[in-house]
């Protein structure tokens, strides 16, 4: 089912948490809401769920206006960061809860409920644990149960609020892959909130980057990573280095020197230059960035070098081949291969 969020605003005690947000979620896609804490991503998810009501704006499920519907009526599956399992119920009872509380007219017979719950338990790879209680399971297992419980009601949309946030790194990676598989198998429209960009890039079809109650950019992981549309997105997704520069004569200047970078259609004046530390090349030229090495650290297959750029006061980071003999105070000359200019605020 597709979900349309239309000009939604949300205030908590006059404090705005979301400003006029619009987002189209396609049927069957796996979309990530990504942003730092306080960016409004969880608020947006809870608004879609109906756990919060918008101050203004509308939310559509398909063609029906769901804005006035209660949580119960929206038929959504919600997975909480801390699982929120019912600890006085067995795993099987937890999963079948959503079917058991249905009014008699729509409730499947007891045998059918049991069969479906066991089937879901199988889907989340926990077959045989139906008689256990939640406190007898590990964190990763509990979150799988929570997902099975949410899937049991055959939700129109599956919403996950930082589903792997409370788990350790190893389990998190495993569950990430597994969630993708489940999604591909069941085809539910899925929205998940995360502050972990790696998780969002790896898992989602599209991501929606949020900051300070606004949507900064929506696009495929490639799109957002390669063509960030704002300084925030450039800085938030992937690693980035930033320098204050000036644009003049269609060229980028720093400290009175041209850098050999064409400015394209950027307006003349002060600007911010962004590039990825790994996307630089060492050059022998006058028109380039030069700097003295502060520190050099081996990071995996590369050498991460922090430089003080002449003409700028702030240090930047670049990645060099691990066998590059960069030592302290050595001078380096380089140019970013790809870069992006944003007007200075």
């Amino acid at each position: 089912m597709e979900v349309r969020v239309q000009n939604v605003r949300k205030e908590f005690d006059r404090f705005p948490a979301l400003h006029d947000v619009s987002l189209d979620i396609r049927s069957g896609e796996l979309i990530a809401l990504l942003g730092p804490s306080g960016s409004g991503k969880t608020t947006l998810l809870r608004l879609i769920a109906g756990l919060e009501m918008p101050t203004a704006g509308r939310i559509f499920f398909g063609d029906t206006d769901a804005s006035e519907k209660t949580v119960q009526e929206r038929n959504i599956g919600f997975v909480f960061q801390h699982y929120a399992l019912f600890r006085h119920m067995t795993i099987l009872e937890n999963i079948s809860f959503g079917l058991k509380v249905r009014p008699r007219a729509t409730r499947p017979p007891a045998g059918e409920i049991r069969r479906r719950a066991l089937e879901l338990l199988d889907l989340v790879q926990l077959a045989g644990l139906e008689k256990r209680y939640p406190n007898q399971l590990s964190g990763g297992q509990r979150q799988r149960v929570a997902l099975a419980r949410a899937l049991a009601i055959e939700p129109a949309v599956l919403l996950l609020d930082e589903p792997f946030g409370a788990l350790d790194a190893q389990v998190r990676r495993e569950l990430r892959k597994w969630l993708r598989e489940i999604h591909d198998r069941t085809g539910h429209t899925t929205v998940f909130v995360t502050h972990d960009q790696e998780e969002a890039l790896e898992l989602s079809d599209r991501l929606c980057v949020m900051s300070q109650g606004r949507i900064e950019q929506v696009g495929t992981p490639d799109d957002v990573y390669d063509h960030p549309t704002s300084p925030f997105v450039f800085g938030f997704i992937g690693e980035s280095s930033e320098l204050p520069v000036t644009v003049q004569n269609n060229e980028v200047w720093l400290g009175g020197r041209p850098l050999g970078l064409p400015a394209g259609d950027s307006q003349p004046g002060k600007a911010r230059l962004f590039f990825r530390p790994h996307d630089v090349e060492l050059v022998q030229a006058d028109a380039a960035l030069t700097g003295a090495v502060n520190t050099a650290r081996r990071v995996g297959g590369t050498r991460r070098v922090e430089l003080t750029i002449s003409g700028a006061n702030q240090p930047v980071e670049v990645d060099l081949p691990f066998d590059h003999p960069a030592t302290e105070n050595a001078a380096l000359t380089f140019r970013p291969r790809r870069w992006k200019l944003f007007p200075a605020a």
Partner: protein, 289 residues
């Protein structure tokens, strides 16, 4: 055998395992001494005193109709009072935890007053209010209901002194039941009533049982406030603790200890049962995670 004994000489006691927390021997010793002095020795003295009577004498004293009547009054009223307290104490705890309203903190503090108030003061105040010419009693008098000087009055006094126990045991647990669990229930389609009866109340059961046990134990042992409101009619509204006091005044010390021992045994059996139910539910549901 000898090598085994040589390598594990310190395991001889069985209790003492290597542990990073020191002082096991010291703290256990202190605990046992303290427990003996404060609780065990008085109770044993009670048992020995009544044992002096022999089994026949004990049974004869125990089967005295007035004794049986007073025990029935005590335990039946205490059970009723604890049951009522559990219902309304849970409701009170719910309101105090879940809602924010002006005066909540004062309300919260007032709950504890029955702990602090001298029980005789409570008894006299309740009698004055529930007597046929009192504020509340006058409302019920035209209906032919008498509260003071009947078992109903005993129940009222027991409710008064037992309420804080229920509220104070449920409150912290209710605060711990996360809001997320309720939201999860709602997203799964459960309405408010289903969420309360199927999710919230079951998770409060251990706390409710504890509250019940405490309120019940307190009510059974209560003396000061009840004797004012009860009317103390033998076989109708005479509680066992009062009968003990009467026996003492008659210098019938053995008769008094017999009643005390029976009360102890019944209370112990009930509290043990409640504790076992709790231990069972805790081992199933887990606590604090």
């Amino acid at each position: 055998m000898s090598t085994l004994a040589a390598t594990t000489p310190r395991r001889a006691w069985g209790l003492r395992k290597p542990n990073v927390i020191p002082g096991f021997g010291l703290t256990l010793g202190f605990t046992l001494t303290y427990f003996s002095l404060i609780i065990l020795i008085p109770l044993i003295a009670l048992a020995i005193r009544s044992a002096g009577l022999g089994l026949d004498g004990f049974l004869k004293a125990a089967s005295d109709p007035r004794v049986l009547g007073s025990l029935r009054v005590s335990f039946v009223t205490a059970l009723i009072a604890a049951s009522i307290n559990v219902v309304f104490g849970t409701l009170l705890a719910w309101v105090l935890v879940r809602y924010r309203f002006p005066g909540r903190r004062i309300f919260d503090a007032v709950i504890d007053l029955p702990f602090a108030l001298p029980t005789a003061v409570a008894g006299i105040a309740l009698t004055a209010i529930y007597a046929p010419n009192g504020t509340m009693g006058a409302l019920f008098a035209p209906l032919g209901w008498r509260i003071a000087y009947t078992p109903a009055g005993i129940v009222i006094a027991m409710i008064f002194i037992g309420l804080p126990f229920v509220v104070r045991t449920i409150q912290p647990i209710l605060e711990e039941v996360s809001h997320e669990v309720e939201e999860a229930s709602a997203t799964l389609g459960a309405n408010r009533f289903q969420t309360i009866t199927r999710v919230i109340l079951p998770s409060l059961t251990p706390a409710i049982l504890t509250g019940f046990a405490l309120a019940f134990a307190r009510a059974v042992g209560e003396y000061g406030s009840i004797i004012f409101i009860a009317g103390n009619i033998p076989f109708v509204s005479e509680i066992a603790p009062l009968l003990i006091f009467i026996r003492l005044q008659e210098f019938n010390y053995v008769g008094a200890t017999v009643i005390a021992v029976i009360m102890l045994l019944i209370s112990f059996a009930i509290l043990l049962l409640i504790n076992l139910i709790q231990a069972w539910s805790r081992s199933r549901y887990g606590y604090g995670n």
